[in-house]
Symmetry: D2
Subunit: 137 residues, 4 copies
């Protein structure tokens, strides 16, 4: 499991005084960097090297995330398929999961625009971060 | 059905030269303004008046949205429950649906922090925008 | 002068119930698309074709921009130098300028990483949009 | 001086493969939290307690900020006036200042909508973080 701690930004907070759904989406994306590094260790953004594309993202907003208190983002792999895999993420604040994000990511060739099987060496590293989802996710 | 046309912003486009998932999330949120106006006609953001909270959002990214060509966001109601309802949105570019967003929104009292049934007059307006989801959504 | 009308997004509004400075920055960037098209008509984002880079941006926040009321962004050229030029932008809401953005943009070769003079044909088009800044900008 | 380290997010990077100006603006805003805490220790966002408003922001983009390498944001006070003060911020990557942000912030009463003098106890704390700007800023 990967961990990232974020301190909400003033502009992340909306008029209802909780973090806007888009702010949470940014934190989750930010916290996926270590997963991206498994596939592209130097995070090279060329079309030849970058090989991940987002297929689907499901966000659940369980309770309101507030300003002035840190948020811990927990990131792990929850499923590994042939050419795609699933990342599950939890946003913890004050001892509870306040939001979750489940992303389906495809191993993708940006030159041929086709999905490609996940190679065995990468699959092994993903398996080290494989974890069952918390009940309720 | 509500329609909004957006012209992607330079910074919406990521290094893979397509719109980042967060940019799409912002367009979809932007296009929900007419739905919010059904509940809060003057969009008053006080805790006494604002009465909608996001519970869940599902994004599907079917194909890449590019820069320099307009995106039409179609927004309609796809389900009406007791105190919650579902908004389905499609992002069209160059004649095809390139991304969708399905949101579950709860009619909510920010003072008591409880969900509240959707009143009949609002339910009638929502029904005017009720539509079956496109196959595949 | 180029004009763009935006309807503030729910998440653009911060806890003080006015548009966050970053939301305004996004509107101004969005409204620069027509200026970018003068240099790169098809908005091709390749390093060979794209030829503009931001050097400096000055934002002034005169009064609060609120939700539920449209914002008109006026965009014009306020200075043309040898290889750089200045874009001045105003955000109008309810009959007054509530924010301004003055950007210094450089005509730039992303392959050699050097600034390049603005060619005469482009200079002529820029001059058509050249305008004196409003007093106070 | 306050320090914050950020790891650029995939979506922070634009098609030119450097951080978009808006991404930098978000990092700088994020790094202003410790300054906000001097005025509002619990970061209470009520109109009665929150007392800061942004008047002006100047960004300089000296060189391109890239993905995959951390960015250190240095934040200090560069001027203290009667009711306003100036925050200077630098974004360091790979040993050089790649962007700066100079903000003019006003001590403000959101109920009366008027600026208010900075009290002596807060002024003393600001002075502890007062520093001359780096040459070139």
């Amino acid at each position: 499991m990967f961990k990232l701690t974020v301190d909400p930004r003033f502009g992340d907070i909306n008029a209802m005084k909780h973090a806007n759904s888009i702010a949470a989406a940014m934190w989750f994306e930010h916290a996926r960097n270590p997963v991206f590094r498994i596939f592209i260790p130097d995070l090279d953004l060329s079309h030849e090297k970058w090989n991940l594309i987002m297929a689907r993202t499901v966000y659940e907003y369980n309770s309101q995330i507030v300003y002035g208190s840190e948020v811990d983002i927990h990131t792990y792999i929850s499923k590994i398929g042939n050419s795609s895999f699933r990342i599950t993420q939890e946003a913890w604040q004050n001892g509870e999961i306040r939001a979750t994000c489940v992303s389906t990511v495809v191993h993708f060739d940006f030159i041929t625009k086709k999905s490609i099987p996940i190679p065995d060496d990468i699959r092994k590293i993903l398996e080290e971060h494989l974890q069952e989802e918390n009940a309720g996710n």
